[in-house]
Structures are given as C-alpha cells and as structure tokens.
C-alpha cells in the first residue's frame, strides 16, 4: 500500500526526496500512475503484506513505457487483471448498488484511493454466481494481448499458461503484479518481464470458459465501498459483504420459505435470494450468525428470568424493585442516547470541517498562489498558536479567502479533535 500513497505523494507534487537509485521513476510515475487500474493497486497492497518480495524484479516502468507507446493499451491493461478482478474501466457492469445504499459519502478522489474491503490472496473458485460482466473484459484482454504481441514482438510461449492450474497462474500473476509495484524503480528495463506478461494473458485467454467462471466469482464479490470504482481482486471466501437490513430481510424471507433457520441450507437460501453479489460463503456465515442469534434468546430465557428475579432482590425494596430496574434501564438508555448524540455532532462537524478545508484549498489553488497548498495544510498543523495568530499565519498571501477562514477558525475555536 505504500505504493499507493507514495504515488499520491508524487502526484501531489510534493518534493519527495527520491533516492538517487531511482532515477527515471518519478517522471513515469507521475504520468502513468493515475491511469493505472485499481485492482492492481489493491492487489499489490494486499500482497505486499503477505508476500514480501519474491525475486522477480519485474519492472513496472518498462511495461508502462510500453503502454504509453501503444495508446490504446492502457485501457485494455485493465482487463487482464480484470479477468480475475473487477474492471475499473467498466463499473457499469457491476450491479451492486443495493449493497451500499446506506453510504452517503462521496468519494471525490480518483480510483486510486479505492479500498476494497476484501482482502486475502486470490483463489479463483467456481461459484454459482452467474457471470455478469464476462464478455467485455475478456474481449478487452484479447485485444490487449494482441496489442502486446503485435507491439512487442514478444510473442510469448503459451507454454507457461496453457495447462497450468488457474490457481497457480493467478498466484503467480499476483506475485508478479505485486513485485511490479513494490520494486517499482528497482529494475527498470528487465526485458524478461515483458516476456512474462503476454504468455500469461494468452494462456488466460485460452482458459476462457474457466476464466469466465473466475470472473463471475469475482464479480460476485461485494464491491468496495466506493461505488464508482468497484474493486475486488480478492478471495471470494474472505470477501466482506455489507449486510443491510433490506438484504437481511430478503435473507429471512428466504429462510422462512425454506422452513426455518435450522432447515434452510445456504445453497437453497442463495438460490431463493437471487442476489447478484452474494456468494455461498456470505450466506453460510450469515446463516450461522442468524442461527446463534435466534438460538441464544431461547436458551437464556429460562436462566435470565431467574437472574432478573435475583437482581430485583438486590435493592431489597419490594415493590419498588421492579420500578428501579426500569429506571436503571432508562438511565442507561439516556446515557447511551447522549453518547450517540455527541458522536453524531462530532461526526458532522468533522465532515463539515474537511469539506470546508477542501473548498478553501480549491479556492487557493485557483488563485494560483504558489505554495498555497502547503501553507494551507501547514497551518492546520501550526502548533501552539491560538486562533487569532492562526489567521495571519495562514493568510499571508491571500485576501479573498481570509473572511471565510476567519469564519471557519472561529467556528472551530477552542477545541481540538485531537
């Protein structure tokens, strides 16, 4: 993941002291990073944690250089990983709106900031989920590999992929992609890597039917929170599903149709629910939770009654014991409500502050005053100075935003979210 963030640093124009051993990287990073598809990043960042650097120093730079040259290829570049992961280029192919309807925040950031909730190594598995978007990425990929081989004279031997297990392929591809990003500058121009790429793709294309299944299993995964840039690229089993009450309602209906939580099977429920992005693993775990949730109340009914009765004996006030308990409950609830209220206030304030910070930033940038971004953010970290001194510090070069700054700082007076 450091890859992701350091790139953000680069692209935001920060004077990062790049080590001298990475000469050409910053330039190419700047250009090509924003165009790189998400899945690779997500994948990379995940794998970085789990697989520290296997030796192929596959270089991103030469690949990307290549991509630059063939103009159409960055688009289809999305596809090969998209064969196994969701394609950033085709968000419309995903149909997961219902899963994230509860989320309001708009992510203005580009797809690079996308976070998939799914993690873990990729393990393609054939699932019952129908392929929703197979054709397009596969086509794209085919186009891409044709492009690659045409452009590069690197007609790879398909030997690598042809009879490989899809799992092995994907793991290897994963590692390969990982190291790409991790060793981003370490090995510019290792030609072997280019050899490596096309065979994978062509072999993947050979396995088209299997791929489609894989693809579908990927598409079956829950989307990342950020609606515009769905990413998967993770293990189906470990993927996280966001259960909304509506989805849960459908689940309960399906379970009831099948005769109750004990009788219902995950497969049956899955079939009945007809939800696009649900996999059997999700249903299985959810069913288990559902069972325990319903079973426990039944179980504790007997014992809790005794418990409750004994609790009433504690205050040793006869009739009042009952009332006290209710009062206690009410107090507890009051306290909790208070906390909830405070949290809501805090949250809305924080959001608003960030929002206004962004507005200010934009305004300052529009003013084309050099160093404004830095000073804007720097002033927020300005230490020790109370509000009044904060204002002159940050508004040295700006007259227009000053008023709004004043208003903003006054608003946030005397308190720190820290």
């Amino acid at each position: 993941m450091e890859r992701l963030s350091t790139n953000q640093l680069y692209s935001s124009g920060v004077p990062v002291t790049v080590p001298t051993s990475l000469p050409s990287i910053p330039a190419s990073l700047d250009e090509s990073f924003p165009r790189l598809p998400d899945p690779q990043n997500v994948l990379m960042e995940r794998e970085l944690r789990s697989n520290p650097l296997p030796p192929h120093q596959t270089a991103v730079a030469p690949m990307r250089g290549h991509f630059h040259s063939s103009t159409g290829s960055v688009g289809p570049l999305c596809s090969p990983p998209a064969v196994r992961f969701s394609s950033v280029s085709g968000p419309e192919q995903y149909s997961n709106p219902n899963l994230y309807n509860s989320q309001a925040p708009s992510t203005t950031s580009s797809s690079t900031l996308n976070y998939g909730p799914q993690y873990g190594g990729f393990e393609p598995s054939i699932t019952d989920v129908e392929p929703t978007w197979c054709p397009h990425p596969v086509d794209g990929m085919l186009g891409y590999s044709a492009d690659i081989s045409g452009g590069n004279n690197l007609t790879g031997s398909t030997s690598i992929g042809a009879s490989d297990d899809l799992t092995k392929q994907s793991e290897w591809w994963t590692d390969f992609m990982n190291d790409d990003w991790k060793e981003i500058g370490d090995n510019p121009g290792s030609a072997e890597t280019q050899l490596v790429v096309p065979p994978v793709q062509t072999s993947i294309s050979v396995h088209q039917p299997a791929t489609q299944q894989t693809v579908s299993s990927q598409s079956g995964e829950p989307l990342a929170v950020v609606a515009p840039s769905p990413t998967a690229g993770s293990n189906t089993a470990k993927a996280r599903m966001r259960w909304t009450p509506e989805l849960h309602e459908r689940f309960v209906d399906a379970v009831n149709q099948l005769g109750g939580s004990e009788k219902a099977t995950p497969k049956g429920v899955l079939k009945l629910m007809k939800a696009d992005n649900l996999t059997i693993y999700h249903v299985k775990s959810h069913l288990q939770k559902y069972r325990t949730a319903r079973y426990r109340p039944e179980l504790s009914e007997g014992s809790s009654e005794k418990k409750v009765a004994s609790k009433e004996d504690i205050p040793s006030i006869d009739l009042k014991g009952n009332f006290d308990l209710t009062e206690a409950l009410r107090l507890q609830l009051e306290l909790q409500k208070r906390l909830h209220e405070q949290l809501e206030i805090q949250r809305s304030l924080q959001l608003r502050i960030e929002e206004q910070g962004k507005c200010l930033q934009m305004m300052l940038e529009q003013q084309c005053i050099p160093g404004t971004e830095k000073s804007l953010d720097a002033s927020t970290s300005a230490e020790g100075s109370k509000l009044p001194s904060d204002i002159p510090e940050s508004s040295t070069a700006k007259e227009v935003p000053e008023n709004s700054q004043n208003g903003l700082t006054k608003q946030t007076e005397s308190g720190d979210s820290q």
Partner: protein, 282 residues
Amino acid sequence: MKFGKRLQKQVEESLPEWRDKFLAYKRLKRLLRLVVVSTAAASSSSSPRRISGIAGAVAAEAAFVRLLDAEVDRFNAFFMEQEEDFVIRHRARTRVHIVRIIYASMVELQETVKKAAQDAARRPSSETELSLTMRRVRKEIVDLHGEMVLLLNYSAINYTGLAKIVKKYDKRTGRLLRLPFIEKVLGQPFFATELISRLVRECETTMEAVFKASRVHHAGASAGARPVAVAAAEQGIFRNTVAALMTIGELRSRSSTYGRFSLPPMASPEHELLRCVQLAGP
C-alpha cells in the same frame, strides 16, 4: 490528557472482544519517530552512507503508510462484522417485541391492577412470567442500543486517532499525506455509519414506546431509591458508555493545538450527568 492515554483508557473499558480492535496509535507514533529519525540521519550523513540512509528513511515511511492502511483494513473488517451482527439482532429484537410489547403492556396493566390489591409486602419474585420476559426483552434492546452506540464510538475514536497521526506525520515530515489519506478514510465502510445510526434511532423509538407503556402502570412508583447501583452492577456496556462519554468530553474540552480542524467543546450538561453517574457508579 494526551490522546494516546485516553485511547488506552477507552480500550481498557471496552468490551473484551473489542480490545484489540482499536487503532494502534502507539505503534504508529513509534514508526513516525523512526521515520523522522531516519530521515534526519539520512540527510545529515556523508554521501557514501547516504544512499542506505535514504533507503532506510524511505522504508520507514513505507512501513508507516503500510501500517496505516492495514489499520484501516482492520477497522473495516471488524466494523462490518459487528454491523452484520447488529442488523440480525436488531431485526430479531425489535420486530418481535414490538408486537409483544403492545400485547404485554395490556396484559401487564391488568395484572398490576390485580396485584395492587394484594399484599404489598410480598417480594416481586411472584411477578408474572410475561413481565419478566418483557423486562428481559427491554434489557436486551437497551443493551443492543448500547453496543451499537459503542460501535459508533469505536468508529469515531479510530477516525480521530487516524486524523491525529497523519497530521503529526505531515507536520514532522513535511509531506502531504493527510489530505488524500483522510479523503480515502472518509469513504471507508467503517466510517460510513449511517446505517448503524438509523438502527440506533429505531431502538430509541422502540424503547420510548416501551417506557411509555411501563410508565402507565408504574405511575405510582417513586423514583426515590437510587437506581444507579443496580444499573452500575452490570459492567460492560454501561461502564463503557460512560468511559466513552468522558473521553469525548475530554477530547473536546481542551487542546494544545488549535487549528482549522479542531472541534468545539461539548455542551456542559454532559459533565453534570456524568459526574453524578461516576460518583454513584462502580
């Protein structure tokens, strides 16, 4: 008090399964220190050692960012798991019990009237099974409400911690990590708490109906006896809530760095209530 300490206190007071799910603030701070130190070392060392020094600095920064991201992932996973649990429990509780409550309230009213005519000194253990069940149900709903609010608190405190640590990072290293990182965090599942808030409000509504109903037949009860002792006897959620409120109050009362991104102080009535509770509490 410093944030790290407050966070520690909060973690201590949390429900046991939650304790290791909070932000690893200390670790991040240590990493940050490492970054600063290694960057300083790199820039001040002579040129032969410079490259390794710089590599070290870069590695430290990378590790910092990596940890940040790993933490966010952890939050997401835990949050969504809890959310799923709450969705299940919420539906199970409120659905069934709204009906039960209405029915039970009616029945209980009759029973109470009958009982009032009986020996008043008799211990309440002879209460109807229904009312006992109702009490249990009410307790469960309130507990569910409490846990959900605590999950919201979990999200808030982790967000605050993240915001603080990246602000420190920016300040110490001069980078611009804060803005893009926070933007990303704002879009994360663990920060998107609208659903849980809604469930919480629904619980509140349900409980208000319940209390209103119970108020009807307990109209004559005196609230003289201090009920706090009973409530405080149950640990976990209640204490955790109190701790959370205290933390928020402290977070918002005073700060060493005021800035554009600071929050205003909390309203004072909280402190009064909290103080009462604290005194009477465990």
